[in-house]
């Protein structure tokens, strides 16, 4: 029924201001309303029972219980003949609330232009938020349970900066999918089709509201919920499937569980030795742990990861489904990790460092940085193939052997020297680094075996540390700096000469890689042949520009940055990326 989003530009991304889904106030303010109504009902429970179900009210002597109703505002209103006034006040309040919701919806508009996503909101205090498209770090589509029933979704454009996200909540699912595809296509540097395709949902500000539409939305949402499909886009095949059993067991085999078991044993022993009241204290711990455990299991259910044209698409969540697309070049570090509990099962987890736009205090970092919750070696190799597409697939087995399981014979890693093994007692044989063509590899840990990759094109800076004891043993610590995330870039106890060499080499390669990096407009240099065969090739556009501006007729493929008036100019071309010195 729905047009594939790739077929054309959605009505919502034509550069004009648009409104959000008409049910937005209900979804956003709905909870508050429900709470308010709940409080009122709870307070008036007796009264309501009296009015609607008089037969259940026990006959009481009014004189005996008079004091109970002394402060009841409804009695007071009735006694003073103010029913009309009270009713009027109620109506006014209701009208104001509804008007407020309506106005806030009217004033909440968004616009998607060639270079930016903008959101305006607020009635009295206006806020205006923009996200530059070439800095988009990812787009995620969240569909909470209730929103899903109504066929709507939340779209969040992850910007580059703490609290820099632009949220479009809520859009109808079909529109959200289309807008996401458009944002990603614009961000990639490709052009959208000139004419908007007739979107199946029509304008969101149209007469979509109403009982009929609502019920249709609900029934459609229920169908979608049962079938469990994403509407609108051709679903790419997931490269990894996590059986439910493995997911459950992997959560059971976590350090937290071990901690809990130890705590329970200790308490039971304590109780047996004569302090039985300790058992009571255990109850909240178990409940809390159970809740945490269940929620993390639910989050991992229905996990899928698949490549799309505009990046990697990760979906998970049973009740609240989150679909996240990470465009190429937005991953700052990757780590394959295995705790000792998972070793017999041969399971691994993959985490990444990326800009999530969430502050650390929000605590949801983890959700957006775990790429593979639990997987076998084959899964890891497949996912790594998506994350690092420039590495040949046949290189992975060797790297896995050496880097993740190693060291083996012919170890390419430079390890902690034997003389300094006192600093890394357990892991000195594993603790080391290697360089491949695009990234720095750090192999660390024995109990928690990890292999971390830091692409040079994303590395921010590199540091060396050396304390007096390091100096005595002629070693140093190396630390590469990336954006905040679960992966640390510190490798301790490296031979001093090797560290200095690494420092220079990493710096050289970082400068080279970032000069050659075009991933902020990742597809700008690829003619968008698939989506828009009729579009003029970018080079021609550039030539026309040159001719129009400087009056120079001959083609000049690399114009100076000065020749381009400003970033808002039409015909964005690869030449406009300011990478030339």
């Amino acid at each position: 029924m729905s047009q594939p989003a790739a077929a054309g530009r959605s009505v919502l991304s034509d550069g004009e201001w648009h409104r959000l889904h008409p049910l937005t106030p209900l979804l956003r303010g709905g909870l508050v309303l429900v709470v308010v109504i709940g409080v009122i009902i709870a307070n008036l429970r007796d009264r309501l029972v009296q009015i609607f179900l008089p037969m259940f009210v026990p006959q009481i002597n009014p004189d005996e219980y008079a004091f109970e109703y002394e402060g009841d505002p409804i009695d007071w209103v009735v006694e003073n003949n103010l029913v009309l006034l009270a009713g009027l006040a109620l109506v006014v309040v209701l009208v104001l609330v509804v008007a407020g919701f309506y106005l806030s919806w009217r004033f909440h508009t968004f616009r998607i232009t060639r270079d930016e996503v903008e959101v305006r909101s607020g009635i009295l205090f206006r806020t205006h938020r923009r996200a530059k498209l070439d800095r988009v770090q990812g787009v995620n589509l969240t569909r909470p349970m209730i929103a899903r029933l109504l066929g709507t979704a939340k779209l969040e454009v992850v910007g580059a900066g703490a609290d820099g996200n632009v949220k479009l909540e809520y859009l109808s699912t079909v529109n959200a999918e289309q807008v996401r595809a458009d944002i990603l296509r614009l961000a990639s540097g490709r052009q959208l089709d000139a004419q908007p395709a007739p979107g199946p949902a029509g304008a969101p500000g149209g007469a979509l509201a109403g009982a009929a539409a609502l019920s249709a939305a609900v029934s459609h949402g229920v169908t979608g919920l049962i079938v469990g499909e994403d509407v609108g886009e051709v679903e790419p095949e997931s490269v990894v499937r996590i059986p439910v059993g493995r997911l459950l067991l992997s959560h059971l085999l976590s350090p937290i569980t071990v901690l809990l078991v130890v705590a329970i044993t200790a308490v039971i022993v304590g109780a047996a030795l004569g302090t039985p009241w300790l058992l009571i204290g255990l109850l909240p711990v178990i409940i809390g742990f159970g809740a945490f455990w269940l929620s993390s299991v639910f989050k991992g259910l229905r996990y899928s990861i698949a490549p799309t044209r505009n990046g990697i698409r990760i979906t998970y969540g049973l009740f609240t489904t989150i679909t996240e697309i990470i465009p190429p070049g937005r991953i700052h570090a990757i780590e394959i990790r295995q705790s000792i509990l998972w070793r017999p099962a041969g399971w691994w987890t993959i985490k990444i460092n990326r800009i999530t736009g969430k502050s650390v205090s929000e605590g949801t970092q983890d959700q957006f940085t775990t790429v593979l919750p639990v997987g076998t070696r084959a899964d890891v190799e497949r996912v790594m193939g998506l994350l690092v597409p420039e590495m040949a697939p046949e290189e992975w087995p060797a790297l896995f052997e050496q880097g993740v399981l190693g060291p083996r014979d012919g170890d390419p890693f430079t390890n902690t020297p034997r003389r300094a093994r006192i600093f890394t007692l357990l892991s000195w044989k594993r603790n080391g680094f290697a360089l491949n063509q695009g990234a720095l590899l750090l192999r660390r840990g024995v109990v928690w075996r990890t292999l971390s990759m830091f692409p040079f094109a994303r590395m921010q800076s590199v540091a060396l540390h050396q304390g007096p004891f390091d100096r005595m043993l002629r070693v140093a610590d190396v630390q590469v700096h990336t954006v905040l995330g679960p992966i640390s870039g510190r490798l301790s106890t490296v031979d001093r000469d090797a560290a200095l060499e690494l420092f220079a080499e990493v710096e050289r390669r970082t400068a080279m890689a970032s000069a050659a990096d075009h991933s902020h407009r990742w597809a700008a240099d690829v003619a968008d042949a698939v989506a828009a065969p009729a579009t003029v090739p970018p080079l021609t556009v550039a030539v026309q520009w040159e001719a129009g501006e400087g009056g120079q007729p001959q083609p000049q493929p690399q114009p100076q940055p000065r020749a381009i008036p400003d970033a808002d100019a039409p015909g964005r071309t690869p030449e406009q990326s300011p990478n030339q010195p």
């Binding site: 540091a463 700096h481 990336t482």
Partner: protein, 196 residues
Amino acid sequence: MMSTPDPQADPTPVTDSTSWVVDDAGTFTELREPSSPNRLVIEPNQWHQLSRKYLTLQLLTHGALLVLIVVAGFVLTAVARAEWIWIPFGVVALLSLWGIAILPRQVRGYGYQLRQDDLVFRRGILWQRVVAVPYGRMQLIDITHGPLDRGFGIAQLKFVTAAATTGVTIPGLSQATAESLRDHLIAVAESRRTGL
């Protein structure tokens, strides 16, 4: 306040990464490094250093703090006859004295180099730290100076990248140096700007 107008403001126009002429007048000239041959040496081992006025300012503020502690101790013993107060105060005073004693060494341990593609910053003698930041990675540059700093004509320069851990903060540059260095770095960073 002894306000010293800096006559050696750097008027050199800035064009590219190699043309920044640093005005090293009034800075330290000899870097203090660990003596061990195992120390970290970054080539070329020629560093720009902090302004001498920064050391004066630091000595003054630390000295004032020490005096304050000692005076407070005397007052408390005289008024409240609490001789035991010298146990915590003495520890703090000794630590502060130690801090003052190593301050000249410490300040000479700071240094920075402007290389072809990156800025290298070093700090510390006992615990050495060396950081290299490619010019294109700089997101913004902060200059801060408090009232005392302004009196001495010095400023602190902070480099902010997308990584919170980069932590390159050069204290105690002369204000003119700080400003011309900032303008230069911004120009260079702009010419090499890429994605994050």
